[in-house]
Amino acid sequence: MAHILAPGTTAPDFTLPVTPDQSLSLRDLRGQPVVLAFYPADWSPVCGDQMALYNEIHPEFQKYKAEVVGISVDGVWCHAAFAHDRHLHFPLLADFEPKGAVAKAYGVYREKEGVCERALFVIDEEGVIFWSYCSPIAVNPGADGILEALENLKEKRQNHGQLESSRRAG
C-alpha cells in the first residue's frame, strides 16, 4: 500500500488542468508556501465541507502568503460548476487523466474507490514538503493542522533569517 509522502521529501512536480483551457504547475508556485488539499469528490452533501471551509478561512491562509489548491479526480467542468456554486476563491485541480496520477505520486490514492484520500500537504517556498497529514476518509480534517504548520514554517524562516543575518554581521 502506498504511503503518504513525509516531511522533508521534495514535492513531486505536476501540471494539471485548473479550468477547461488553463493549467497550473506546482513549480509556478515556488517562492511561497503551498497548501495542497486532496479530497475525494466535489459535491459532498454537507454544509461546510472541506473546500467550503477552506474558502471561509482563505483570508487566514493569505496572512501566511500561502496558496491553497484543492485536488480531486473530478473533471474540469465538474470543478467549474462546484467552484461557482460554492463561490470558491482558490483553484481546484483535476487529477482526471491519467486518473489519480498526482494523488498516486503523493501516496494518497484509494485504488479501491478510485478517489483521493483526504490528505493535506504544506509545501515550503523551495518545494519541499514541510507537513503532511492523511485524515480518515469520513472525517473532514478541518484547518487547524494546516494553520499550525504554516505558523511553524513562518517561525522556521524567521529563525533562519536571523541566523543568516547574524552570520553576515559576524
Binding site: 454537507v46 454544509c47 467550503a52 471551509l53 471561509e56 478561512i57 478541518g142 487547524d144
Partner: protein
C-alpha cells in the same frame, strides 16, 4: 484528535452551571440546515442530562454559502447584549426556513427590542468582531463544518443525533465517576 483551544469563559453564551460534569460546546451557523436539525436535539440532550450538562453556543457562520448567516449571528449577539440571546437563538432556529432580514426584525420586535437599534447594529457590524473571534477560535480548534461539537474540550466526530450524543456524554460522565471514586 482536535481539542478546543479557547476555554469556555464568562463572555460565552452559556446554559447551565459552571460545575456541571460535562460541557457541550457547539460551533454553529444559523442558516445551516444541519444546525437547524441539531437545535431540538441539543435541547433534548440538555433536558436528558439536566444539571449534569452545561451548553455553550459559539458562532461559525459559513458566509460564502449562507447569505443570511452573518446577519443572523449579529442579530443574536445584538439581542444577547440586551440579555435576550437564547430567545433570539431559539427564534432564529425555529424559523430557519424563512430566515431573512424581515424575520430578524420581527423576532427582535417580539422581544421588545428596538428595530432601529437592530438595523444600526447590523449595518455598522457592531458585533462582527466577536463573531469573527468565535470563528477563528473554532478554526484553531479544528472545527470542520457545522455543527461541530466539543464534549469536555474534545471534538466529537459522531453523528449530531440524540442517541449518539447521549452515549458520548454518558461516557464522559462514567469516566468522571471512576476518577471521583479513586480520589475518594
Amino acid at each position: 484528535m482536535a481539542n478546543l483551544k479557547v476555554p469556555v469563559a464568562l463572555a460565552d453564551h452559556i446554559l447551565g452551571e459552571k460545575d456541571a460534569a460535562v460541557t457541550l460546546v457547539e460551533y454553529g451557523d444559523y442558516e445551516c440546515p444541519h444546525c437547524g436539525h441539531a437545535h431540538p436535539i441539543v435541547n433534548a440532550v440538555r433536558k436528558h442530562f439536566g444539571e449534569q450538562l452545561r451548553f455553550v453556543f459559539r458562532n461559525f457562520p459559513l458566509t460564502e454559502i449562507h447569505p443570511h448567516a452573518e446577519a443572523a449571528a449579529e442579530a443574536a449577539e445584538f439581542a444577547g447584549a440586551q440579555g435576550h440571546f437564547w430567545e433570539m437563538h431559539d427564534g432564529i432556529f425555529e424559523n430557519q426556513p424563512r430566515l431573512n432580514g424581515r424575520l430578524l426584525a420581527e423576532l427582535a420586535a417580539g422581544l421588545g427590542l428596538s428595530s432601529e437599534d437592530l438595523t444600526a447594529a447590523l449595518e455598522g457590524h457592531e458585533y462582527l468582531p466577536r463573531i469573527k473571534s468565535d470563528f477563528l477560535g473554532g478554526v484553531r480548534s479544528g472545527v470542520n463544518g457545522t455543527p461541530t461539537f466539543f464534549i469536555n474540550g474534545v471534538r466529537y466526530d459522531g453523528a449530531p443525533e440524540f442517541e449518539e450524543l447521549v452515549e458520548a456524554i454518558d461516557e464522559q460522565l462514567s469516566g468522571g465517576k471512576i476518577r471521583r471514586r479513586r480520589a475518594g
